[in-house]
Symmetry: C2
Subunit: 239 residues, 2 copies
Protein backbone atom coordinates (compact mmCIF):
# COMPACT_ATOMS: atom_id res chain seq x y z
CA UNK A 1 0.00 0.00 0.00
CA UNK A 2 2.75 2.39 0.89
CA UNK A 3 4.62 1.32 -2.18
CA UNK A 4 1.52 1.84 -4.28
CA UNK A 5 1.05 5.44 -3.16
CA UNK A 6 4.76 5.94 -3.58
CA UNK A 7 4.60 4.79 -7.14
CA UNK A 8 1.95 7.17 -8.41
CA UNK A 9 3.20 10.27 -6.61
CA UNK A 10 4.29 13.21 -8.76
CA UNK A 11 6.46 14.33 -5.86
CA UNK A 12 8.71 11.35 -6.46
CA UNK A 13 8.57 11.30 -10.21
CA UNK A 14 11.75 11.96 -12.11
CA UNK A 15 9.76 13.53 -14.94
CA UNK A 16 8.28 16.15 -12.65
CA UNK A 17 10.17 19.04 -14.17
CA UNK A 18 8.74 18.14 -17.55
CA UNK A 19 5.05 17.77 -16.61
CA UNK A 20 4.69 20.01 -13.63
CA UNK A 21 5.43 23.56 -12.59
CA UNK A 22 8.95 24.06 -11.32
CA UNK A 23 10.11 25.45 -8.02
CA UNK A 24 7.36 24.07 -5.83
CA UNK A 25 7.54 23.85 -2.07
CA UNK A 26 7.15 20.41 -0.51
CA UNK A 27 3.58 21.19 0.62
CA UNK A 28 2.64 22.30 -2.88
CA UNK A 29 4.15 19.17 -4.28
CA UNK A 30 2.04 17.09 -1.98
CA UNK A 31 -1.12 18.73 -3.26
CA UNK A 32 -0.12 17.76 -6.76
CA UNK A 33 0.00 14.11 -5.86
CA UNK A 34 -3.78 13.89 -5.86
CA UNK A 35 -3.85 14.88 -9.53
CA UNK A 36 -2.96 11.45 -10.74
CA UNK A 37 -5.62 8.83 -10.14
CA UNK A 38 -3.92 5.82 -11.64
CA UNK A 39 -1.40 4.69 -14.17
CA UNK A 40 -2.26 2.97 -17.37
CA UNK A 41 -0.13 0.85 -19.66
CA UNK A 42 -0.66 1.06 -23.38
CA UNK A 43 1.09 -1.42 -25.59
CA UNK A 44 2.53 -0.68 -28.98
CA UNK A 45 -0.11 -0.07 -31.61
CA UNK A 46 -2.87 0.29 -29.05
CA UNK A 47 -4.93 3.49 -28.69
CA UNK A 48 -4.91 5.43 -25.43
CA UNK A 49 -8.10 7.06 -26.66
CA UNK A 50 -9.98 7.39 -29.92
CA UNK A 51 -11.87 10.16 -31.59
CA UNK A 52 -15.45 10.19 -30.39
CA UNK A 53 -14.79 8.55 -27.03
CA UNK A 54 -15.95 10.57 -24.09
CA UNK A 55 -13.31 12.73 -22.47
CA UNK A 56 -12.57 12.31 -18.79
CA UNK A 57 -8.87 12.71 -18.25
CA UNK A 58 -5.64 14.20 -19.38
CA UNK A 59 -2.65 11.90 -19.63
CA UNK A 60 0.95 12.57 -18.73
CA UNK A 61 3.27 10.27 -20.62
CA UNK A 62 5.64 8.46 -18.27
CA UNK A 63 7.30 6.19 -20.76
CA UNK A 64 6.89 5.47 -24.43
CA UNK A 65 6.04 7.41 -27.52
CA UNK A 66 2.69 8.38 -29.03
CA UNK A 67 1.24 9.82 -32.18
CA UNK A 68 -2.01 11.76 -32.32
CA UNK A 69 -4.01 11.84 -35.52
CA UNK A 70 -7.28 13.07 -36.97
CA UNK A 71 -9.02 11.73 -40.03
CA UNK A 72 -11.03 13.44 -42.72
CA UNK A 73 -14.60 12.30 -43.38
CA UNK A 74 -13.38 10.17 -46.28
CA UNK A 75 -10.73 8.45 -44.24
CA UNK A 76 -7.52 10.30 -44.99
CA UNK A 77 -5.38 10.44 -41.90
CA UNK A 78 -3.36 13.37 -40.64
CA UNK A 79 -0.82 12.87 -37.88
CA UNK A 80 -1.03 16.01 -35.76
CA UNK A 81 1.87 15.32 -33.44
CA UNK A 82 4.34 12.94 -31.84
CA UNK A 83 4.52 12.95 -28.06
CA UNK A 84 7.13 11.63 -25.68
CA UNK A 85 7.76 11.25 -21.94
CA UNK A 86 6.75 14.25 -19.87
CA UNK A 87 4.25 15.58 -22.41
CA UNK A 88 0.54 15.92 -21.73
CA UNK A 89 -2.06 14.57 -24.14
CA UNK A 90 -5.82 14.66 -24.25
CA UNK A 91 -6.37 18.43 -24.41
CA UNK A 92 -8.39 18.03 -27.60
CA UNK A 93 -11.24 16.47 -25.61
CA UNK A 94 -12.02 19.43 -23.39
CA UNK A 95 -14.13 21.48 -25.82
CA UNK A 96 -16.77 18.93 -26.63
CA UNK A 97 -16.28 16.43 -23.79
CA UNK A 98 -15.36 13.94 -26.49
CA UNK A 99 -11.96 13.24 -27.88
CA UNK A 100 -11.31 14.74 -31.25
CA UNK A 101 -8.36 12.65 -32.31
CA UNK A 102 -6.76 9.27 -31.78
CA UNK A 103 -3.73 8.82 -29.54
CA UNK A 104 -1.82 5.68 -30.46
CA UNK A 105 1.26 4.27 -28.75
CA UNK A 106 4.18 3.83 -31.14
CA UNK A 107 5.99 1.75 -28.53
CA UNK A 108 4.92 0.20 -25.26
CA UNK A 109 4.00 3.07 -23.00
CA UNK A 110 2.74 4.04 -19.60
CA UNK A 111 0.73 7.15 -18.76
CA UNK A 112 -0.45 8.89 -15.61
CA UNK A 113 -4.21 9.31 -15.72
CA UNK A 114 -5.28 12.73 -14.46
CA UNK A 115 -9.07 13.03 -14.26
CA UNK A 116 -9.84 16.46 -15.64
CA UNK A 117 -12.23 17.20 -12.78
CA UNK A 118 -9.27 16.81 -10.41
CA UNK A 119 -7.14 19.07 -12.55
CA UNK A 120 -9.77 21.79 -12.50
CA UNK A 121 -10.49 21.45 -8.82
CA UNK A 122 -6.89 21.59 -7.75
CA UNK A 123 -6.05 24.43 -10.09
CA UNK A 124 -8.77 26.54 -8.49
CA UNK A 125 -7.06 26.43 -5.14
CA UNK A 126 -3.58 26.40 -6.54
CA UNK A 127 -2.70 29.28 -8.85
CA UNK A 128 0.66 27.82 -9.79
CA UNK A 129 -1.03 24.76 -11.24
CA UNK A 130 -3.72 26.87 -12.87
CA UNK A 131 -1.11 28.89 -14.66
CA UNK A 132 0.73 25.74 -15.60
CA UNK A 133 -2.34 24.20 -17.22
CA UNK A 134 -2.93 27.38 -19.17
CA UNK A 135 0.66 27.41 -20.34
CA UNK A 136 0.50 23.83 -21.50
CA UNK A 137 -2.59 24.51 -23.58
CA UNK A 138 -1.13 27.69 -24.99
CA UNK A 139 2.09 25.89 -25.82
CA UNK A 140 0.11 23.38 -27.81
CA UNK A 141 -1.59 26.20 -29.71
CA UNK A 142 1.76 27.77 -30.52
CA UNK A 143 3.17 24.41 -31.60
CA UNK A 144 0.21 23.87 -33.89
CA UNK A 145 0.77 27.28 -35.46
CA UNK A 146 4.35 26.25 -36.14
CA UNK A 147 3.13 23.12 -37.89
CA UNK A 148 0.79 25.23 -40.02
CA UNK A 149 3.77 27.33 -41.04
CA UNK A 150 5.65 24.17 -42.01
CA UNK A 151 2.74 22.75 -43.96
CA UNK A 152 1.73 25.98 -45.62
CA UNK A 153 5.05 27.48 -46.57
CA UNK A 154 7.91 25.04 -46.46
CA UNK A 155 9.32 22.67 -49.01
CA UNK A 156 9.94 18.99 -48.37
CA UNK A 157 13.55 19.43 -47.30
CA UNK A 158 12.71 22.25 -44.94
CA UNK A 159 9.93 20.23 -43.36
CA UNK A 160 12.09 17.23 -42.74
CA UNK A 161 14.98 19.31 -41.43
CA UNK A 162 12.65 21.08 -39.00
CA UNK A 163 11.18 17.76 -37.94
CA UNK A 164 14.56 16.20 -37.20
CA UNK A 165 15.83 19.24 -35.33
CA UNK A 166 12.69 19.42 -33.22
CA UNK A 167 12.85 15.74 -32.42
CA UNK A 168 16.46 15.65 -31.28
CA UNK A 169 16.02 18.84 -29.35
CA UNK A 170 13.18 17.32 -27.35
CA UNK A 171 15.04 14.06 -26.89
CA UNK A 172 18.08 15.97 -25.76
CA UNK A 173 15.99 17.75 -23.10
CA UNK A 174 15.24 14.24 -21.80
CA UNK A 175 18.86 13.27 -21.58
CA UNK A 176 19.28 11.49 -24.91
CA UNK A 177 21.86 12.15 -27.56
CA UNK A 178 21.43 15.27 -29.62
CA UNK A 179 22.90 13.58 -32.65
CA UNK A 180 21.46 10.07 -32.76
CA UNK A 181 17.83 9.01 -32.88
CA UNK A 182 15.96 5.82 -33.36
CA UNK A 183 12.75 6.87 -35.00
CA UNK A 184 9.68 5.34 -33.46
CA UNK A 185 7.46 6.10 -36.43
CA UNK A 186 7.30 4.85 -40.00
CA UNK A 187 8.11 6.92 -43.07
CA UNK A 188 4.40 7.05 -43.74
CA UNK A 189 3.69 8.55 -40.32
CA UNK A 190 6.43 11.12 -40.74
CA UNK A 191 5.00 11.93 -44.14
CA UNK A 192 1.51 12.29 -42.79
CA UNK A 193 2.72 14.68 -40.11
CA UNK A 194 4.70 16.72 -42.63
CA UNK A 195 2.14 16.66 -45.42
CA UNK A 196 4.19 14.58 -47.82
CA UNK A 197 4.16 11.04 -49.17
CA UNK A 198 6.30 8.32 -47.68
CA UNK A 199 8.37 8.08 -50.87
CA UNK A 200 9.21 11.75 -50.61
CA UNK A 201 10.25 11.32 -46.98
CA UNK A 202 12.51 8.46 -47.98
CA UNK A 203 13.99 10.36 -50.90
CA UNK A 204 14.63 13.40 -48.76
CA UNK A 205 16.40 11.28 -46.14
CA UNK A 206 18.53 9.82 -48.92
CA UNK A 207 19.32 13.27 -50.27
CA UNK A 208 20.45 14.53 -46.85
CA UNK A 209 22.49 11.39 -46.53
CA UNK A 210 24.20 11.85 -49.93
CA UNK A 211 25.04 15.40 -48.90
CA UNK A 212 26.68 14.12 -45.75
CA UNK A 213 24.28 15.97 -43.47
CA UNK A 214 22.93 12.85 -41.82
CA UNK A 215 23.50 9.14 -41.82
CA UNK A 216 20.40 6.98 -42.15
CA UNK A 217 19.82 3.30 -41.80
CA UNK A 218 16.15 2.57 -41.65
CA UNK A 219 14.90 3.87 -38.29
CA UNK A 220 18.32 4.87 -37.08
CA UNK A 221 19.40 8.42 -37.89
CA UNK A 222 22.63 10.17 -37.02
CA UNK A 223 22.90 13.90 -37.46
CA UNK A 224 26.36 14.73 -38.74
CA UNK A 225 25.87 18.43 -39.52
CA UNK A 226 23.18 19.98 -37.34
CA UNK A 227 24.07 23.42 -38.67
CA UNK A 228 23.38 22.30 -42.22
CA UNK A 229 19.91 21.22 -41.11
CA UNK A 230 19.38 24.54 -39.39
CA UNK A 231 20.42 26.36 -42.53
CA UNK A 232 17.97 24.40 -44.64
CA UNK A 233 15.21 25.25 -42.24
CA UNK A 234 16.30 28.84 -41.78
CA UNK A 235 18.72 30.13 -44.43
CA UNK A 236 19.74 33.12 -42.29
CA UNK A 237 20.64 31.20 -39.16
CA UNK A 238 24.12 29.96 -38.43
CA UNK A 239 25.47 31.15 -41.78
Amino acid sequence: MLTESFKVACSNCNLRELCMPIGLTPEELQKLDSLVATRRKVSQGEALYRSGESFTSLYAIRTGFFKTCVSSPDGREQVTGFQMAGEIIGLDGITTDRHNCNAVALEDAEVCVMPFANVEEISREFPVLQRHVHKIMSREIVRDQGVMLLLGNMRAEERLAAFLLNLVQRLNARGFSRSEVILRMTREEIGSYLGMKLETVSRTFSKFSEEGIIEVKQRWVKILQPDALRRIFDPESAV
Copy 2:
Protein backbone atom coordinates in the same frame (compact mmCIF):
# COMPACT_ATOMS: atom_id res chain seq x y z
CA MET B 1 -19.65 57.39 -15.68
CA LEU B 2 -22.71 55.22 -15.48
CA THR B 3 -22.76 55.02 -19.25
CA GLU B 4 -19.11 54.08 -19.24
CA SER B 5 -19.61 51.16 -16.90
CA PHE B 6 -22.71 50.24 -18.84
CA LYS B 7 -20.76 50.14 -22.02
CA VAL B 8 -18.08 47.71 -20.97
CA ALA B 9 -20.36 45.30 -19.12
CA CYS B 10 -20.55 41.75 -20.46
CA SER B 11 -23.94 41.45 -18.80
CA ASN B 12 -25.34 43.88 -21.34
CA CYS B 13 -23.41 42.70 -24.33
CA ASN B 14 -25.29 41.19 -27.21
CA LEU B 15 -22.32 38.99 -28.03
CA ARG B 16 -22.39 37.39 -24.62
CA GLU B 17 -23.56 34.00 -25.83
CA LEU B 18 -20.60 33.89 -28.18
CA CYS B 19 -17.81 34.86 -25.77
CA MET B 20 -19.12 33.74 -22.44
CA PRO B 21 -20.57 30.65 -20.82
CA ILE B 22 -24.28 30.30 -21.36
CA GLY B 23 -27.03 29.94 -18.79
CA LEU B 24 -25.59 32.16 -16.11
CA THR B 25 -27.55 33.56 -13.20
CA PRO B 26 -27.68 37.35 -12.86
CA GLU B 27 -25.20 37.26 -9.96
CA GLU B 28 -22.79 35.19 -11.96
CA LEU B 29 -23.13 37.57 -14.83
CA GLN B 30 -22.23 40.44 -12.62
CA LYS B 31 -19.00 38.75 -11.60
CA LEU B 32 -18.08 38.46 -15.23
CA ASP B 33 -18.31 42.18 -15.72
CA SER B 34 -15.03 42.70 -13.94
CA LEU B 35 -13.25 40.59 -16.58
CA VAL B 36 -13.13 43.38 -19.08
CA ALA B 37 -10.90 46.26 -18.14
CA THR B 38 -11.39 48.50 -21.15
CA ARG B 39 -12.25 48.52 -24.79
CA ARG B 40 -9.81 49.20 -27.53
CA LYS B 41 -10.36 50.30 -31.10
CA VAL B 42 -8.11 48.95 -33.81
CA SER B 43 -8.33 50.44 -37.24
CA GLN B 44 -8.00 48.54 -40.46
CA GLY B 45 -4.48 47.34 -41.13
CA GLU B 46 -3.35 48.04 -37.60
CA ALA B 47 -2.03 45.33 -35.27
CA LEU B 48 -3.79 44.54 -32.01
CA TYR B 49 -0.57 42.87 -30.94
CA ARG B 50 2.60 41.66 -32.58
CA SER B 51 4.83 38.68 -32.14
CA GLY B 52 7.37 39.35 -29.41
CA GLU B 53 5.30 41.91 -27.53
CA SER B 54 4.70 41.06 -23.92
CA PHE B 55 1.44 39.30 -23.20
CA THR B 56 -0.95 40.79 -20.70
CA SER B 57 -4.47 40.31 -21.93
CA LEU B 58 -6.86 38.24 -23.95
CA TYR B 59 -9.14 40.08 -26.34
CA ALA B 60 -12.78 39.44 -27.14
CA ILE B 61 -13.67 40.80 -30.54
CA ARG B 62 -16.71 43.07 -30.36
CA THR B 63 -16.76 44.28 -33.91
CA GLY B 64 -14.55 43.82 -36.91
CA PHE B 65 -12.48 41.07 -38.40
CA PHE B 66 -8.93 39.96 -37.69
CA LYS B 67 -6.26 37.70 -39.09
CA THR B 68 -3.54 36.10 -37.01
CA CYS B 69 -0.25 35.19 -38.61
CA VAL B 70 3.17 33.84 -37.81
CA SER B 71 6.30 34.28 -39.88
CA SER B 72 9.21 32.01 -40.53
CA PRO B 73 12.71 33.19 -39.70
CA ASP B 74 13.26 34.17 -43.33
CA GLY B 75 10.10 36.21 -43.52
CA ARG B 76 7.53 33.94 -45.11
CA GLU B 77 4.16 34.60 -43.58
CA GLN B 78 1.54 32.05 -42.61
CA VAL B 79 -1.97 33.20 -41.76
CA THR B 80 -3.08 30.92 -38.93
CA GLY B 81 -6.67 32.06 -38.67
CA PHE B 82 -9.38 34.61 -39.33
CA GLN B 83 -11.39 35.79 -36.32
CA MET B 84 -14.70 37.58 -36.09
CA ALA B 85 -17.01 39.08 -33.47
CA GLY B 86 -17.41 36.99 -30.34
CA GLU B 87 -14.12 35.14 -30.76
CA ILE B 88 -11.24 35.34 -28.31
CA ILE B 89 -7.70 36.06 -29.43
CA GLY B 90 -4.37 36.27 -27.66
CA LEU B 91 -4.15 32.71 -26.32
CA ASP B 92 -0.82 32.24 -28.05
CA GLY B 93 0.83 34.59 -25.56
CA ILE B 94 0.19 32.58 -22.42
CA THR B 95 3.04 30.06 -22.73
CA THR B 96 5.94 32.43 -22.92
CA ASP B 97 4.35 35.65 -21.65
CA ARG B 98 5.07 37.05 -25.08
CA HIS B 99 2.84 36.98 -28.08
CA ASN B 100 3.80 34.43 -30.66
CA CYS B 101 1.90 35.80 -33.61
CA ASN B 102 0.56 39.03 -35.05
CA ALA B 103 -3.12 39.91 -34.84
CA VAL B 104 -4.06 42.42 -37.52
CA ALA B 105 -7.46 44.05 -38.07
CA LEU B 106 -8.79 43.45 -41.59
CA GLU B 107 -11.46 46.10 -41.00
CA ASP B 108 -11.99 48.70 -38.31
CA ALA B 109 -12.54 46.79 -35.11
CA GLU B 110 -13.17 47.05 -31.43
CA VAL B 111 -12.09 44.54 -28.79
CA CYS B 112 -12.74 44.03 -25.09
CA VAL B 113 -9.45 43.92 -23.22
CA MET B 114 -9.43 41.18 -20.58
CA PRO B 115 -6.27 41.28 -18.48
CA PHE B 116 -5.24 37.68 -18.13
CA ALA B 117 -4.59 38.10 -14.40
CA ASN B 118 -8.29 38.96 -14.05
CA VAL B 119 -9.29 35.97 -16.10
CA GLU B 120 -7.26 33.65 -13.91
CA GLU B 121 -8.39 35.22 -10.67
CA ILE B 122 -12.05 35.11 -11.52
CA SER B 123 -11.91 31.61 -12.91
CA ARG B 124 -10.48 30.37 -9.65
CA GLU B 125 -13.58 31.39 -7.76
CA PHE B 126 -15.94 30.67 -10.60
CA PRO B 127 -15.80 27.14 -12.00
CA VAL B 128 -18.14 27.94 -14.87
CA LEU B 129 -15.73 30.51 -16.20
CA GLN B 130 -12.78 28.23 -15.53
CA ARG B 131 -14.36 25.51 -17.60
CA HIS B 132 -15.22 28.03 -20.29
CA VAL B 133 -11.63 29.23 -20.59
CA HIS B 134 -10.44 25.65 -20.88
CA LYS B 135 -13.01 24.94 -23.56
CA ILE B 136 -12.00 27.98 -25.58
CA MET B 137 -8.35 26.92 -25.55
CA SER B 138 -9.22 23.34 -26.39
CA ARG B 139 -11.46 24.50 -29.21
CA GLU B 140 -8.55 26.40 -30.68
CA ILE B 141 -6.40 23.27 -30.49
CA VAL B 142 -9.06 21.25 -32.28
CA ARG B 143 -9.49 23.96 -34.91
CA ASP B 144 -5.75 23.98 -35.51
CA GLN B 145 -5.76 20.23 -35.98
CA GLY B 146 -8.46 20.67 -38.60
CA VAL B 147 -6.28 23.17 -40.42
CA MET B 148 -3.40 20.70 -40.35
CA LEU B 149 -5.67 18.15 -41.97
CA LEU B 150 -6.56 20.67 -44.67
CA LEU B 151 -2.95 21.63 -45.28
CA GLY B 152 -1.55 18.14 -45.11
CA ASN B 153 -4.10 16.14 -47.04
CA MET B 154 -6.44 18.24 -49.13
CA ARG B 155 -6.21 19.55 -52.65
CA ALA B 156 -6.77 23.17 -53.60
CA GLU B 157 -10.48 22.79 -54.35
CA GLU B 158 -11.12 20.94 -51.12
CA ARG B 159 -9.31 23.58 -49.11
CA LEU B 160 -11.20 26.45 -50.63
CA ALA B 161 -14.55 24.65 -50.29
CA ALA B 162 -13.86 23.95 -46.62
CA PHE B 163 -12.80 27.55 -46.10
CA LEU B 164 -15.96 28.96 -47.63
CA LEU B 165 -18.24 26.60 -45.76
CA ASN B 166 -16.56 27.36 -42.47
CA LEU B 167 -16.75 31.08 -43.07
CA VAL B 168 -20.44 31.24 -43.92
CA GLN B 169 -21.28 28.87 -41.11
CA ARG B 170 -19.64 31.16 -38.59
CA LEU B 171 -21.19 34.25 -40.15
CA ASN B 172 -24.56 32.56 -40.11
CA ALA B 173 -24.19 31.89 -36.37
CA ARG B 174 -23.86 35.67 -36.05
CA GLY B 175 -27.03 36.37 -37.94
CA PHE B 176 -25.62 36.94 -41.41
CA SER B 177 -26.63 35.26 -44.63
CA ARG B 178 -25.53 31.71 -45.12
CA SER B 179 -25.19 32.23 -48.83
CA GLU B 180 -23.57 35.62 -49.33
CA VAL B 181 -20.27 36.88 -48.00
CA ILE B 182 -18.12 39.89 -48.48
CA LEU B 183 -14.62 38.64 -47.93
CA ARG B 184 -12.57 40.82 -45.66
CA MET B 185 -9.28 39.33 -46.75
CA THR B 186 -7.28 39.37 -49.97
CA ARG B 187 -6.68 36.38 -52.21
CA GLU B 188 -3.16 36.35 -50.91
CA GLU B 189 -4.32 36.09 -47.30
CA ILE B 190 -6.74 33.30 -48.16
CA GLY B 191 -3.90 31.58 -49.99
CA SER B 192 -1.55 31.98 -47.06
CA TYR B 193 -4.12 30.47 -44.72
CA LEU B 194 -4.79 27.57 -47.08
CA GLY B 195 -1.21 26.95 -48.13
CA MET B 196 -1.65 27.98 -51.74
CA LYS B 197 -0.63 30.87 -53.98
CA LEU B 198 -2.99 33.76 -54.66
CA GLU B 199 -3.23 32.78 -58.33
CA THR B 200 -4.41 29.33 -57.36
CA VAL B 201 -7.03 30.82 -55.06
CA SER B 202 -8.26 33.04 -57.85
CA ARG B 203 -8.32 30.20 -60.37
CA THR B 204 -10.18 27.95 -57.99
CA PHE B 205 -12.78 30.64 -57.37
CA SER B 206 -13.16 30.97 -61.13
CA LYS B 207 -13.50 27.22 -61.51
CA PHE B 208 -16.27 27.01 -58.89
CA SER B 209 -17.91 29.93 -60.61
CA GLU B 210 -17.80 28.27 -64.06
CA GLU B 211 -19.33 25.17 -62.52
CA GLY B 212 -22.18 27.24 -61.16
CA ILE B 213 -21.35 26.42 -57.55
CA ILE B 214 -20.70 30.00 -56.53
CA GLU B 215 -20.87 33.47 -58.00
CA VAL B 216 -17.82 35.65 -57.42
CA LYS B 217 -17.15 39.28 -58.03
CA GLN B 218 -13.93 40.28 -56.33
CA ARG B 219 -14.62 40.25 -52.60
CA TRP B 220 -18.28 39.42 -52.95
CA VAL B 221 -19.15 35.71 -53.02
CA LYS B 222 -22.55 34.09 -53.32
CA ILE B 223 -22.89 30.40 -52.64
CA LEU B 224 -25.34 28.91 -55.10
CA GLN B 225 -24.87 25.22 -54.32
CA PRO B 226 -23.71 24.68 -50.75
CA ASP B 227 -24.14 20.91 -51.18
CA ALA B 228 -21.73 20.90 -54.07
CA LEU B 229 -19.16 22.55 -51.84
CA ARG B 230 -19.82 20.00 -49.13
CA ARG B 231 -19.35 17.20 -51.61
CA ILE B 232 -16.04 18.60 -52.75
CA PHE B 233 -14.85 18.79 -49.18
CA ASP B 234 -16.32 15.45 -48.21
CA PRO B 235 -17.26 13.20 -51.14
CA GLU B 236 -19.43 10.97 -48.94
CA SER B 237 -21.57 13.71 -47.44
CA ALA B 238 -24.87 14.80 -48.93
CA VAL B 239 -24.52 12.43 -51.89
